[in-house]
């Protein structure tokens, strides 16, 4: 059980796969590197099977959307319970027609996580055994976590806008105050007053009361 540093794992991968492994990117804080999409499954198999690496745990699989670069980056977090080390990799795919190979055959856990990425980012995973939405309903339109997603204004006649509850409260408050301000008119006198008014003016007075 020897934990390898990020650089050591990267070195091993580069020695084996050459150009398919991108350089270590000192992102803002956590280092990562890119994998060539075409060789993803092969690299993942190696990551899991190689005794020194032994990444037996696919910790997380998610994605980020980059509209300006026209890219969706699928992010993989690997962890090894045997050696207690971790590795982060990204696979870049075209935003218009995003498709990546599934790593379900390597880690079974990828099944649902890939479904989630499919659900929320619209990335298809080639060879996946059950490519359905996992969180949203099957007939949902769009990929909500893409930066350019706009809400469709409801789902199946269920609106996603509502009146401000404060407005309702204020209206009720105003009505109550108006009622309290007007002195109570005896029922007979009110009837007599209503009879004198034309029909058009009666209606709003009634709804107000």
């Amino acid at each position: 059980m020897t934990a390898l540093s990020f650089e050591q794992v990267h070195q091993k991968l580069s020695a084996r796969f050459g150009d398919a492994i991108g350089p270590i990117q000192p992102a803002k804080k956590d280092a990562f590197c890119t994998f060539a999409a075409a060789r993803l499954v092969e690299i993942c198999r190696f990551l899991k099977a190689e005794p020194d690496l032994w990444f037996d745990f696919l910790e997380d699989l998610t994605a980020t959307d980059h509209p300006k670069q026209n890219l969706i980056k699928v992010v993989y977090h690997f962890y090894s319970y045997r050696h207690r080390h971790l590795f982060i990799a990204k696979v870049e795919v075209n935003r218009q027609d995003p498709e990546v190979d599934t790593v379900e055959s390597v880690w079974k856990a990828a099944n649902w996580m890939e479904r989630e990425v499919f659900d929320l980012f619209g990335v298809r995973f080639k060879g996946h055994s059950d490519m359905r939405r996992v969180l949203l309903p099957d007939d949902w339109v769009g990929s909500p976590l893409r930066k350019d997603y706009s809400e469709a204004g409801g789902y199946r006649d269920i609106s996603n806008v509502r009146d401000n509850p404060l407005d309702l409260y204020l209206t009720m408050d105003r009505q109550l105050k108006a009622e309290q301000a007007t002195p109570e008119i005896p029922a007979d006198a009110k009837l007599a007053a209503d009879a004198k008014l034309p029909a058009a003016e009666k209606a709003p007075a009634k709804s107000g009361a």
């Binding site: 803002k28 804080k29 037996d56 319970y81 996992v134 969180l135 309903p137 909500p144 976590l145």
Partner: protein, 225 residues
Amino acid sequence: MALDQLVMTKFGEGAGEEMILNMGPQHPSTHGVINFVVHADGEVMHKAVPQVGYLHRAIEKIGEMVTYPGFMPYTDRIDYLAAMFANEGYALAVEKLLGVEVPAPAQYLRAISCELNRIASHLISLGSMAMDIGAVTPFPYALRERESINDLLEALCGARLTYNYHRIGGVAFGMADDWAPLCRKWLDHFLQRDLHRAIVRTRGDSRGDGDRLRAGGPQPACFRI
């Protein structure tokens, strides 16, 4: 009469055929968060297709819409039994991005509040696990101790469940002068009670099959810490 003719669900036309049932999300054991489409033949379940979207609150999308400090209350809802840790995790992540260092007093308060919350969360876990295997007594005892922690955390940050206490770069409030003695007093009381040992003992005594937990969940050696 043969036994399979006595099973209630097999009768009339299509006896022995698969039945498709919806279990949840209103089923008591799923309490609103999950639905299974169950393919059953009598008492035997052949297949269960889970639908998990019921608990999805689109918290990641909300995160895109609110400010960084404004997201803190949402993290409370990730785990309502240990909300402090979600606070802490989010605060740590943003601090890492900003390159902010948290002052020492705030770090102490974070650690103390998190550890208290951890004890409270574990009490629920132990108590309800004891109840699940048939011992009802430990659960109210565990809840009683947890109440004291809730009181302490309420005195610290004003909330008993969703604390919203940690902040990016620190915590929301310092502790009052008399808070530390109060916390120590409770700790003395709690350590005397030795509650976890009592729960473990009860587990063995109530059913006489302590093995029920001991034998569960085999793991490869490398998983063990």
